[in-house]
Each structure stands twice: as structure tokens, then as C-alpha cells.
């Protein structure tokens, strides 16, 4: 589904990522751990194609096609979706219109009302996008938009940050639906989840994990063993191991 080869990315004059390589297979969910400031968000933003994140080396291959220099909207149309950690407020634009735009031309898609009900967002459809939303509401709004988009590859930037215990169950359920976790052999949706704390893994099953630290990938393993190692030694332990 996704092959990232020796990807280097800078923001402004600052080099953030260097020679990052990994793959995500069809139907697979990869978890990316890492401390704050380790380049996790930069990686997702570069994969989505935001111009501020300049690719200075390497390639991004999606479904066999080199998309390294493809504009954001084309990547979206090809089936890549992103959950923003801190999405902007868009005053004047209603959630209803945003979700409609996400559904686009698709014919076989649950109705807007069904999707809103699933994400407990029915009362938010006539509100401005993200305006005055709490932490949990922002995540539900993002996931509602993603469910409407139904992407093949989902990039999730800290889906568990700022979410309370009541909301995290719902957020977990929605991610499972987005990643078609109810299917096993026929699953075609892939996910890349960024998490600092790993809380989301109590609700979403992931296949593999790695750590992004100081602009590069370190330690690959199962989500549980990587999380246990971080819990035991902290990210400082990973940094020491690096040396």
C-alpha cells in the first residue's frame, strides 16, 4: 500500500526527517511511537503532501505510484485520508457541508445522518467546522469526515490526545470501522497511527510498531513489545540505545 524510501523532509530551513524508510502493507496497521518534537507530525504532513513540508530526498510510493510531488487534493482523491491533531477552525463553513464534500460523488456510502449519528455529531452538523469544539469533539469531527471519505490509507495523528475516557471508546470504535477491522482476509484499508502515549492501542488492534526519534526510525517490533519497552525505559532509553 505505502512504501516510504529514504525520505528526508525539511520545514523552513530546518531538516526534520532524514532517510526515513518503512512500509505499510494492504490491510495492515502500523503504529509510530515517538517523543514530542521527534518528527511524527512532519512525517504525516509530508505523506499527505502539505507544501510547507518540503521533501528534500527519497520517495513516497502509494499503490505502486510515485506520489512524492503530487498535490494534497490529488492524494486525497486517490484514497489517502488524514486525521489532524489540531485542525483549523473554518468559520462560516458548516460541518454538514464539510461532510458532504467528504462524501463527494460516492454512491455506495452511508447517509450523512447515519455517519453523524455513529460519531455522535448530529448536533454539530449546523455548527462551524471545529469552532468551539472540545478535544474529544475535534477527534469525532475528524473521524466523521474520514468515515465520509472512506480512504484506503488512513493517517492518524495522535487520535488519543486530549480525549477523555468516555470519548476514547467511541474514537476507538470509529477507527476500527475506518480500518475495516471487522474483516480479516478481505481487509484492504491500511492505517498509520501516531501516538505519544499508546492509549489508543487499548481500543485499536495494530500489527506492527516502530519508534521515530531524532528524525529517523528506530526499533521495530510488535506494538505491545515496543510500548512495554518505552514504559520501562522511556524515550530516553531509546535515545541511549541509539548511541
Amino acid at each position: 500500500m505505502l512504501e516510504v524510501e529514504n525520505l528526508s523532509v525539511k520545514v523552513g530551513q530546518k531538516q526534520i526527517l532524514e532517510n526515513v524508510s518503512f512500509t505499510v502493507d494492504i490491510g495492515e496497521t502500523l503504529v509510530l511511537f515517538g517523543p514530542n518534537g521527534g518528527g511524527k507530525t512532519t512525517l504525516l504532513m509530508a505523506l499527505m503532501g502539505f507544501p510547507r513540508y518540503q521533501v528534500t530526498g527519497g520517495r513516497i510510493i502509494y499503490k505502486g505510484e510515485d506520489i512524492t510531488h503530487m498535490p494534497v487534493d490529488e492524494r486525497s482523491k486517490k484514497g489517502i485520508g488524514i486525521l489532524f491533531q489540531r485542525p483549523p477552525v473554518v468559520r462560516g463553513v458548516k460541518m454538514r457541508d464539510m461532510v458532504k464534500a467528504c462524501i463527494g460523488e460516492k454512491k455506495e456510502c452511508p447517509s450523512l445522518e447515519e455517519l453523524a449519528q455513529k460519531s455522535n455529531m448530529t448536533d454539530f452538523l449546523d455548527r462551524d467546522v471545529n469552532y468551539g469544539f472540545s478535544g474529544g469533539e475535534v477527534k469525532r469531527s475528524e473521524l466523521l469526515q474520514l468515515l465520509a471519505q472512506d480512504p484506503d490509507l488512513v493517517l492518524l495523528d495522535e487520535p488519543d490526545s486530549g480525549v477523555d475516557l468516555v470519548n476514547i471508546v467511541l474514537v476507538g470504535n470509529m477507527i476500527n470501522e475506518l480500518l475495516h477491522k471487522d474483516k480479516i482476509r478481505s481487509r484492504t484499508s491500511s492505517g498509520l497511527i501516531i501516538t505519544h502515549t499508546g492509549h489508543i492501542l487499548d481500543y485499536v488492534e495494530a500489527d506492527r510498531a516502530c519508534i521515530l526519534l531524532n528524525g529517523g526510525i528506530w526499533c521495530r517490533g510488535t506494538p505491545r513489545e515496543i510500548l512495554n519497552s518505552i514504559k520501562a525505559n522511556g524515550y530516553e532509553g531509546c535515545a541511549a540505545c541509539q548511541k
Partner: protein, 409 residues
């Protein structure tokens, strides 16, 4: 709460300084001041298809007697149609009303000072027409009254003086559209309007302007709202106009009186709009909200707002937001707050800029092209949420915005 300034200017001084601040001068002598008397049309659908189309674009549906409580149509200096469809609602020309009801002299030139500027002086000393709309006490008009002020004569200085009286406990919605014949026109529209909202009365006033690139426009408006009265004003001007300057003033003189001014303006290249709203809070628990959304696609907008809290326990908020979508556009926001006693609560927010790139990219990440993303954001920016607006008027505003958006982009 934002900064509150001490200022001892009288109402009159404020009015005059605002008028003289307009940089675009007009030579009244360059216009003709008379137009031939046009025949009254009992059935207004006999008007030309082109005129009816222009009227429909500003929300006036000619011949609609089922979803309108009344209709007034003025072409140049002639009342070509005026009729009320509901008991308790009166619609006629102000010249006729002044003859029929001598007591109206107590309402005439009382909220706008005839000596305020050259346009009010001109209006006061030249033949005029205009709409008189009266709603009897306790009557709630089911449908809006619609009015159209239309200019067909080239080079005319159209002189309009309107009077609206909403009696105690009455409710009324007005849609008024001002427009010109679909030709290149360099006329002048002077429109004096005086609105009285009595105790417990409610007036929703939606005005859509649809002028032409050489038109000069000078509305002069005064409003008074008594105890528990409500005045909601929605002003939409999205099409080219050479120069437009207005600064309507509303006085809340009774306890709990409420005023909202919403303005949605687009200045195309060559357009100069100097538009504001002024509210004087003169009784306890009065409230005011002024919201202006402005877009420049190359023209100039001066977006003014003035809130004056003159008694304790009054509250007002002012919001000016502007988007410049073209390198040559100018938006100058001038929000002013004046508190003359302790205990007022006045605030404002103003922002002028371009569409945030982050917002465009956010929408693009959901599959919209850049153009679609910009147009979605602009459409959202222009659609002001208007609390308490009847669905019919809301639909009218949305329609005008949709019609104009393609031209604006």
C-alpha cells in the same frame, strides 16, 4: 472588554464627521432632478421582463400576492405600484401618506437631520417619493412586505424618503431591493429612511443593493427602538457600485431594546464602499450587535462601526471581518466604542486579511481542489448567521449571495 473611550461629541457632531469623512465627492448639479411621471400599474406584472428580472435579483417578486403582505414599487420618481395584502398593514407612497395623515408630520425628518449634509438638504428641498409602511398595534404580518426602488432614467438623482412605523406589539419583515435598469448608468440614489419601532414591536429589515459600476448612492437612515422593541437589519451589497456611503444610526431609548446590524459587502475593482452602523444605547438592558463581513476583490471598503453606551447596564459587541482577495483591494476597518458612564459593557473584534492557507489545505486534504476550497470558505464567510431571521428572508439572502458569488470570485 475592549478599550472604552471618553468622548463628549453630540449625536449631531458624530453624524456630520462621518459624512464628511467620505473621500468620494459628488456634484449634485451634474444630475437631472426630475423624471417624467410614469403610469400607475394596478397589475405590476405588466412591467418589462428586464425590469422584473432585476427586481427579482434583489428579492422583489413582482406579482406575488400570496407570500407577501404588501408590495411597493417605485421607478425613478413615480410610485408605479403599492398595495397591502393583509389587514393592519398599510403600504403607500410617503407623499400620499403625508396628505392622508397629518399626524405623520411628527415622524417626518425627526430621526434624520435635514441639515446633516448636502444630500439630506437636497432631499428636503426637492420633490420626493418613497414608501410608507405602517403596521397597526398588535398586528403580526405573516409575510414580508417587499419594496423596490428602481432607477430607469439615465443621469437621474432619485430622491427617496421612506417612513416605517411598527406600532406597539406589532411585527413586520421588510425586504427592500434597490437597483437600476440593466444598462450602463451613472445615476444617483439619495434615500432617507426613518424607522420607528414602538414598545414591544419587531422589525426585520433586509436590504439588497444591486447597483451599477457608475452609480453613486447615499442612503441616510435613522431608527428609534422603544422598550422591548427589536430591530434586525441585514444589508447585502455584492455588485459593483461607483461610490456608496451610508452610516445608519439606531437609538435604543427603551429598556430591553435590541438592535442587530448585519452587513455583507463585496467591493469589486472600481467600487468604493464606505459603510457602517451606529447604535446609541440610551436605556438600561439595551443590547446591540454589529457584524460586518467584507470582501474586496479589488475595490475599497471602509467598514465602520460605532457603539455608544450612555447608561449603566447596557451591552454591545461589534465585529468587522474583512478578506482581501486581490492585490489591489483595500479594507479599512474602523470599529469605535464610546462609553460615557461606568457600567457599560462594550467590545469589538476586527480582522482584515487573506484566507488562511491552513484552512484551504485542510479542505484540500478532504478532496476539494484549491478553487473549490477557496470558494467554499468565501461562501461560508459571506453567509452570516442571522439569529431570529425568518426562513424566507434567510433564503432570500442566501440566494443573493449565491447569485453574486460567481461575479465576486
Amino acid at each position: 472588554m475592549s478599550k472604552v473611550t471618553k468622548n463628549n461629541k453630540s449625536d449631531k457632531e458624530i453624524k456630520q464627521s462621518a459624512v464628511s469623512a467620505s473621500p468620494t465627492s459628488i456634484d449634485l448639479n451634474s444630475y437631472v432632478h426630475e423624471a417624467e411621471e410614469l403610469p400607475y400599474q394596478k397589475d405590476p406584472t405588466t412591467l418589462s421582463p428586464a425590469a422584473k428580472k432585476r427586481m427579482s435579483d434583489v428579492g422583489v417578486v413582482v406579482g406575488d400576492t400570496t407570500t407577501r403582505a404588501g408590495t411597493y414599487i417605485q421607478v425613478d420618481q413615480s410610485v408605479v405600484h403599492s398595495k397591502a395584502e393583509q389587514d393592519g398593514v398599510e403600504v403607500m407612497g410617503t407623499n400620499m401618506a403625508l396628505e392622508a395623515y397629518p399626524w405623520l408630520k411628527d415622524y417626518w425628518w425627526k430621526l434624520v437631520n435635514p441639515e446633516a449634509d448636502e444630500f439630506t438638504r437636497h432631499s428636503n428641498t426637492h420633490p420626493f417619493k418613497g414608501y410608507y409602511i405602517h403596521v397597526a398595534a398588535g398586528v403580526k404580518a405573516t409575510y414580508p412586505v417587499q419594496s423596490c426602488l428602481y432607477i430607469a432614467k439615465h443621469g437621474l438623482a432619485q430622491n427617496v424618503h421612506n417612513l416605517v412605523i411598527v406600532e406597539e406589539g406589532a411585527e413586520l419583515n421588510i425586504i427592500t431591493g434597490c437597483t437600476v435598469a440593466p444598462t450602463e448608468d451613472d445615476s444617483l440614489h439619495i434615500g432617507v429612511s426613518e424607522f420607528y419601532i414602538k414598545k414591544g414591536g419587531k422589525l426585520s429589515f433586509t436590504m439588497i443593493h444591486n447597483w451599477a459600476p457608475k452609480m453613486a448612492v447615499r442612503p441616510r437612515t435613522g431608527v428609534i427602538i422603544e422598550e422591548d422593541g427589536v430591530f434586525l437589519s441585514n444589508y447585502i451589497c455584492l455588485k459593483p457600485v461607483h461610490t456608496l456611503q451610508m452610516y445608519p444610526a439606531a437609538k435604543c431609548v427603551g429598556k430591553n431594546a435590541l438592535v442587530r446590524f448585519n452587513s455583507v459587502l463585496v467591493a469589486t475593482p472600481g467600487s468604493h464602499l464606505d459603510v457602517g452602523s451606529r447604535v446609541l444605547l440610551q436605556a438600561e438592558k439595551t443590547r446591540a450587535e454589529i457584524v460586518a463581513r467584507t470582501i474586496s476583490t479589488g475595490g475599497t471598503i471602509i467598514s465602520r462601526g460605532f457603539l455608544s453606551g450612555q447608561v449603566p447596564d447596557c451591552k454591545g459587541h461589534l465585529e468587522c471581518r474583512g478578506l482581501i482577495l486581490n492585490e489591489t483591494g483595500t479594507i479599512h476597518a474602523i470599529p469605535e466604542l464610546e462609553g460615557t458612564v461606568a457600567g457599560v459593557d462594550l467590545s469589538h473584534e476586527a480582522a482584515v486579511g487573506k484566507i488562511a492557507e491552513e484552512e484551504i489545505e485542510y479542505l484540500m486534504a478532504r478532496g476539494l481542489s484549491r478553487d473549490q476550497a477557496v470558494s467554499t470558505i468565501v461562501r461560508g464567510f459571506l453567509s452570516v448567521d442571522i439569529e431570529g431571521l425568518p426562513p424566507d428572508l434567510a433564503a432570500q439572502i442566501q440566494r443573493a449571495t449565491d447569485l453574486s458569488q460567481q461575479d465576486a470570485m
